[in-house]
């Protein structure tokens, strides 16, 4: 399976690329700065593409699946804090669909659901991109992670539609593995779930969704 990773130069993205290689996938890492190309090649990306707006219409050609890391807008340079860019998500999802991608795994915002119950919209529309993806015809998986830590991965998580607790944490390495393992795990198809540090081996946690 050939997988394209959008937002590959983030802390999670680096691990996604390594995990794809470890699991035998061919991967293409999309980055926003030339400087990141070497880094991602070292981390195991088969190919690294520097994002420019004009390549979007052909970006997904030949890829079976996409892993999209939100919070990373391919159009914005890194280091700039952006809210999830709704338009960029719509555009990307539409292009992916048009260009023949079948699987679309998206890492959503942390605690995306808290925004849904907030009518004042003070928290921001964190759940919006999820909604947009659900309305598409792609086989989607939306992963809503806990707060990130830079601990080494344990390979064990807990995953469910909603997890109780307000202090959920997950390491960059573990969330990356969840995203990669979701690619071909049918239990994760067309599902939205929360994931955090836990006691279940990742593959098993996904299968029991």
């Amino acid at each position: 399976m050939k997988v394209i990773v959008i937002g590959a130069h983030s802390s999670v993205g680096e691990f996604v690329v390594s995990k794809l290689m470890e699991n035998g996938y061919t991967s293409c890492a999309v980055v926003s700065d030339e400087n990141q190309i070497d880094l991602l090649k070292k981390r195991g990306a088969t190919e690294v593409v520097l994002y420019e707006e004009r390549i979007l219409p052909t970006l997904f050609h030949g890829y079976d699946a996409a892993i999209y890391l939100t919070g990373i807008n391919p159009k914005a340079k890194t280091g700039r804090t952006v809210m999830v860019d709704h338009e960029s998500v719509i555009e990307t999802v539409k292009e992916a669909e048009k260009q023949g991608v079948k699987r679309f795994v998206m890492m959503s915002a942390i605690m995306a659901n808290e925004a849904a119950g907030d009518d004042s919209r003070e928290i921001g529309a964190k759940e919006m991109p999820d909604e947009l993806l659900r309305q598409s015809n792609l086989t989607y998986t939306i992963v809503q992670p806990g707060a990130f830590t830079d601990k080494p991965g344990k390979g064990k998580v807990s995953a469910a539609e909603t997890l109780d607790s307000n202090e959920l944490e997950i390491s960059h390495e573990d969330i990356a593995e969840v995203l990669v393992m979701s690619l071909e795990n049918e239990a994760a198809f067309n599902k939205t779930f929360e994931v955090a540090e836990g006691d279940t081996v990742i593959a098993k946690a996904l299968s029991s969704l």
Binding site: K42, P152, S171
Partner: protein
Amino acid sequence: MGLTDYLVIGLFIFIALIILVPVLLFIYLYIKDDNQQQHSILRNFPVLGKVRYFTEHIGPELRQYLFNADNEGKPFSRKEYQDVVKAGKYKERLIGFGSLKDFEAEGFYIRNTLFPKLTNEMKVDNADKIKTRVYKIDGEGLFTRKEHNEEKLADPHYLQDDDAVVLGEHTCPYPFRVKGQVGQSAMSYGALGEKAIQAMSKGLGLAGGTWMNSGEGGLSDHHLAGNPDIMMQIGPDLFGVRKPNGEFSWEEFKKKSEMPQVKAFEIKLAQGAKTRGGHVEGEKVTEEIAAIRLVEVGKTINSPNRFYEFSDVPSMFDWIEELRSVGGKPVGIKIVVGDMDALENMISYMKDSGKGPDFITVDGGEGGTGATYQELADTVGLPINSALPVVDEMLRQYGIRDRVKLIASGKLITPDKIAIALAMGADLVNIARGMMISVGCIMAQVCHSNTCPAGVATTDKKLQDGLVVEEKMYRVANYIISLREGLYNLAAAAGIDSPTQFERKHIVHKDELGRVSPVEDLIIAARRAQLQKERKVN
């Protein structure tokens, strides 16, 4: 007699003892002090005078804890000390509400640019994360601090491959390529205990992109414990590479150079602290130390302050050439800069002969970790900020700067000080005391006495019990990583994408009156001083 009576008698005896014992002790000490002939204060003020000796003894610690302001204290201020400890423990360098530095005082400053580099524009290699451990504070009370230790995947902040610093690139079959600019300065096993050396070795091995200088006391297994890149130092006493009669042993040297961990050799002509030969007390020469240094067990070693192998520049260079061709690895020299004529002599011969060291370690007069003679430590040799630009400039003048790398040392324990040294011409930087602080040194200033309370500069087994290798090694690694990260921060501020690009133009000197002057002024002043000296001699 009833029980009550016994109790009353018991109580009386008890009270009598409480009063009597101290009184007797006081009288005993009074008479003893009064009669001794050594201390005049005690003769005049028996017992009471002891307060003087007691407070004098615990003075350094008391001043550190209670009386020193944040910027006071030597050799390192409380602030500098804490910066090192925090970097090692929490991998944290953030401060709140501004700097505590005295901005009125003279010193070097880094020139920032209007348009610094963004993080993603920096040429840094963060591909291989380092699995380290850091402390996280859970809560702090007046007498307690609750904190826990957790694993962390840290960005190593290596230099990118094409920025790596290479020693002996064109001269030997096995050049030393290093992807970081900060390493450990020479510290021998024996001066430091095995636990301190092991903790440093493991920490440096974990951090990677760095090196460990064995010190002149030979290469021990403790240095190799964490498999770091080793720079083996050879002093005039030739420890570890000598025959029983004290001559240089090519056989032992070959053995050492064939070890994969040994990446380079450094010939120690002088060190900031020891511009005189070393001295090791016979009782410290244990079987293990004797085996490492290749000397006799239990025999006091007085080492010379100059090599017997050579006496001038040409014979030294010939020896270096031979070492390099036998070992196949880069060979450098460690010097303290005092007289510029001698330096110029050597550098001009380097140019004429085409021979010479692969690197020169310039040790500032303020350098030197532990035990030495006060008169040498305080005044012999120029401090690093004066010595470094002079050496750099002279190498440039003779057009051989590209043949030799410069390693600087001398109290360069924080990223800003390292960056200033790099801008003055250093390619790499050596740190000794920063490493000691990382493994627990509290600056008790007793390195020469084998009674180090932190178990760092002592071979005493009991004192070393306090030092846990598996805990301290992570602090060493965090400290190194944190320094490299800091260097990248400063490089970004100066508008360059790697700390290897620091140049003179990136720093400026400010005097007490706020006047600024470029580094070149230092070089001009040094040259003028030399000319004046020559005029007086002639």
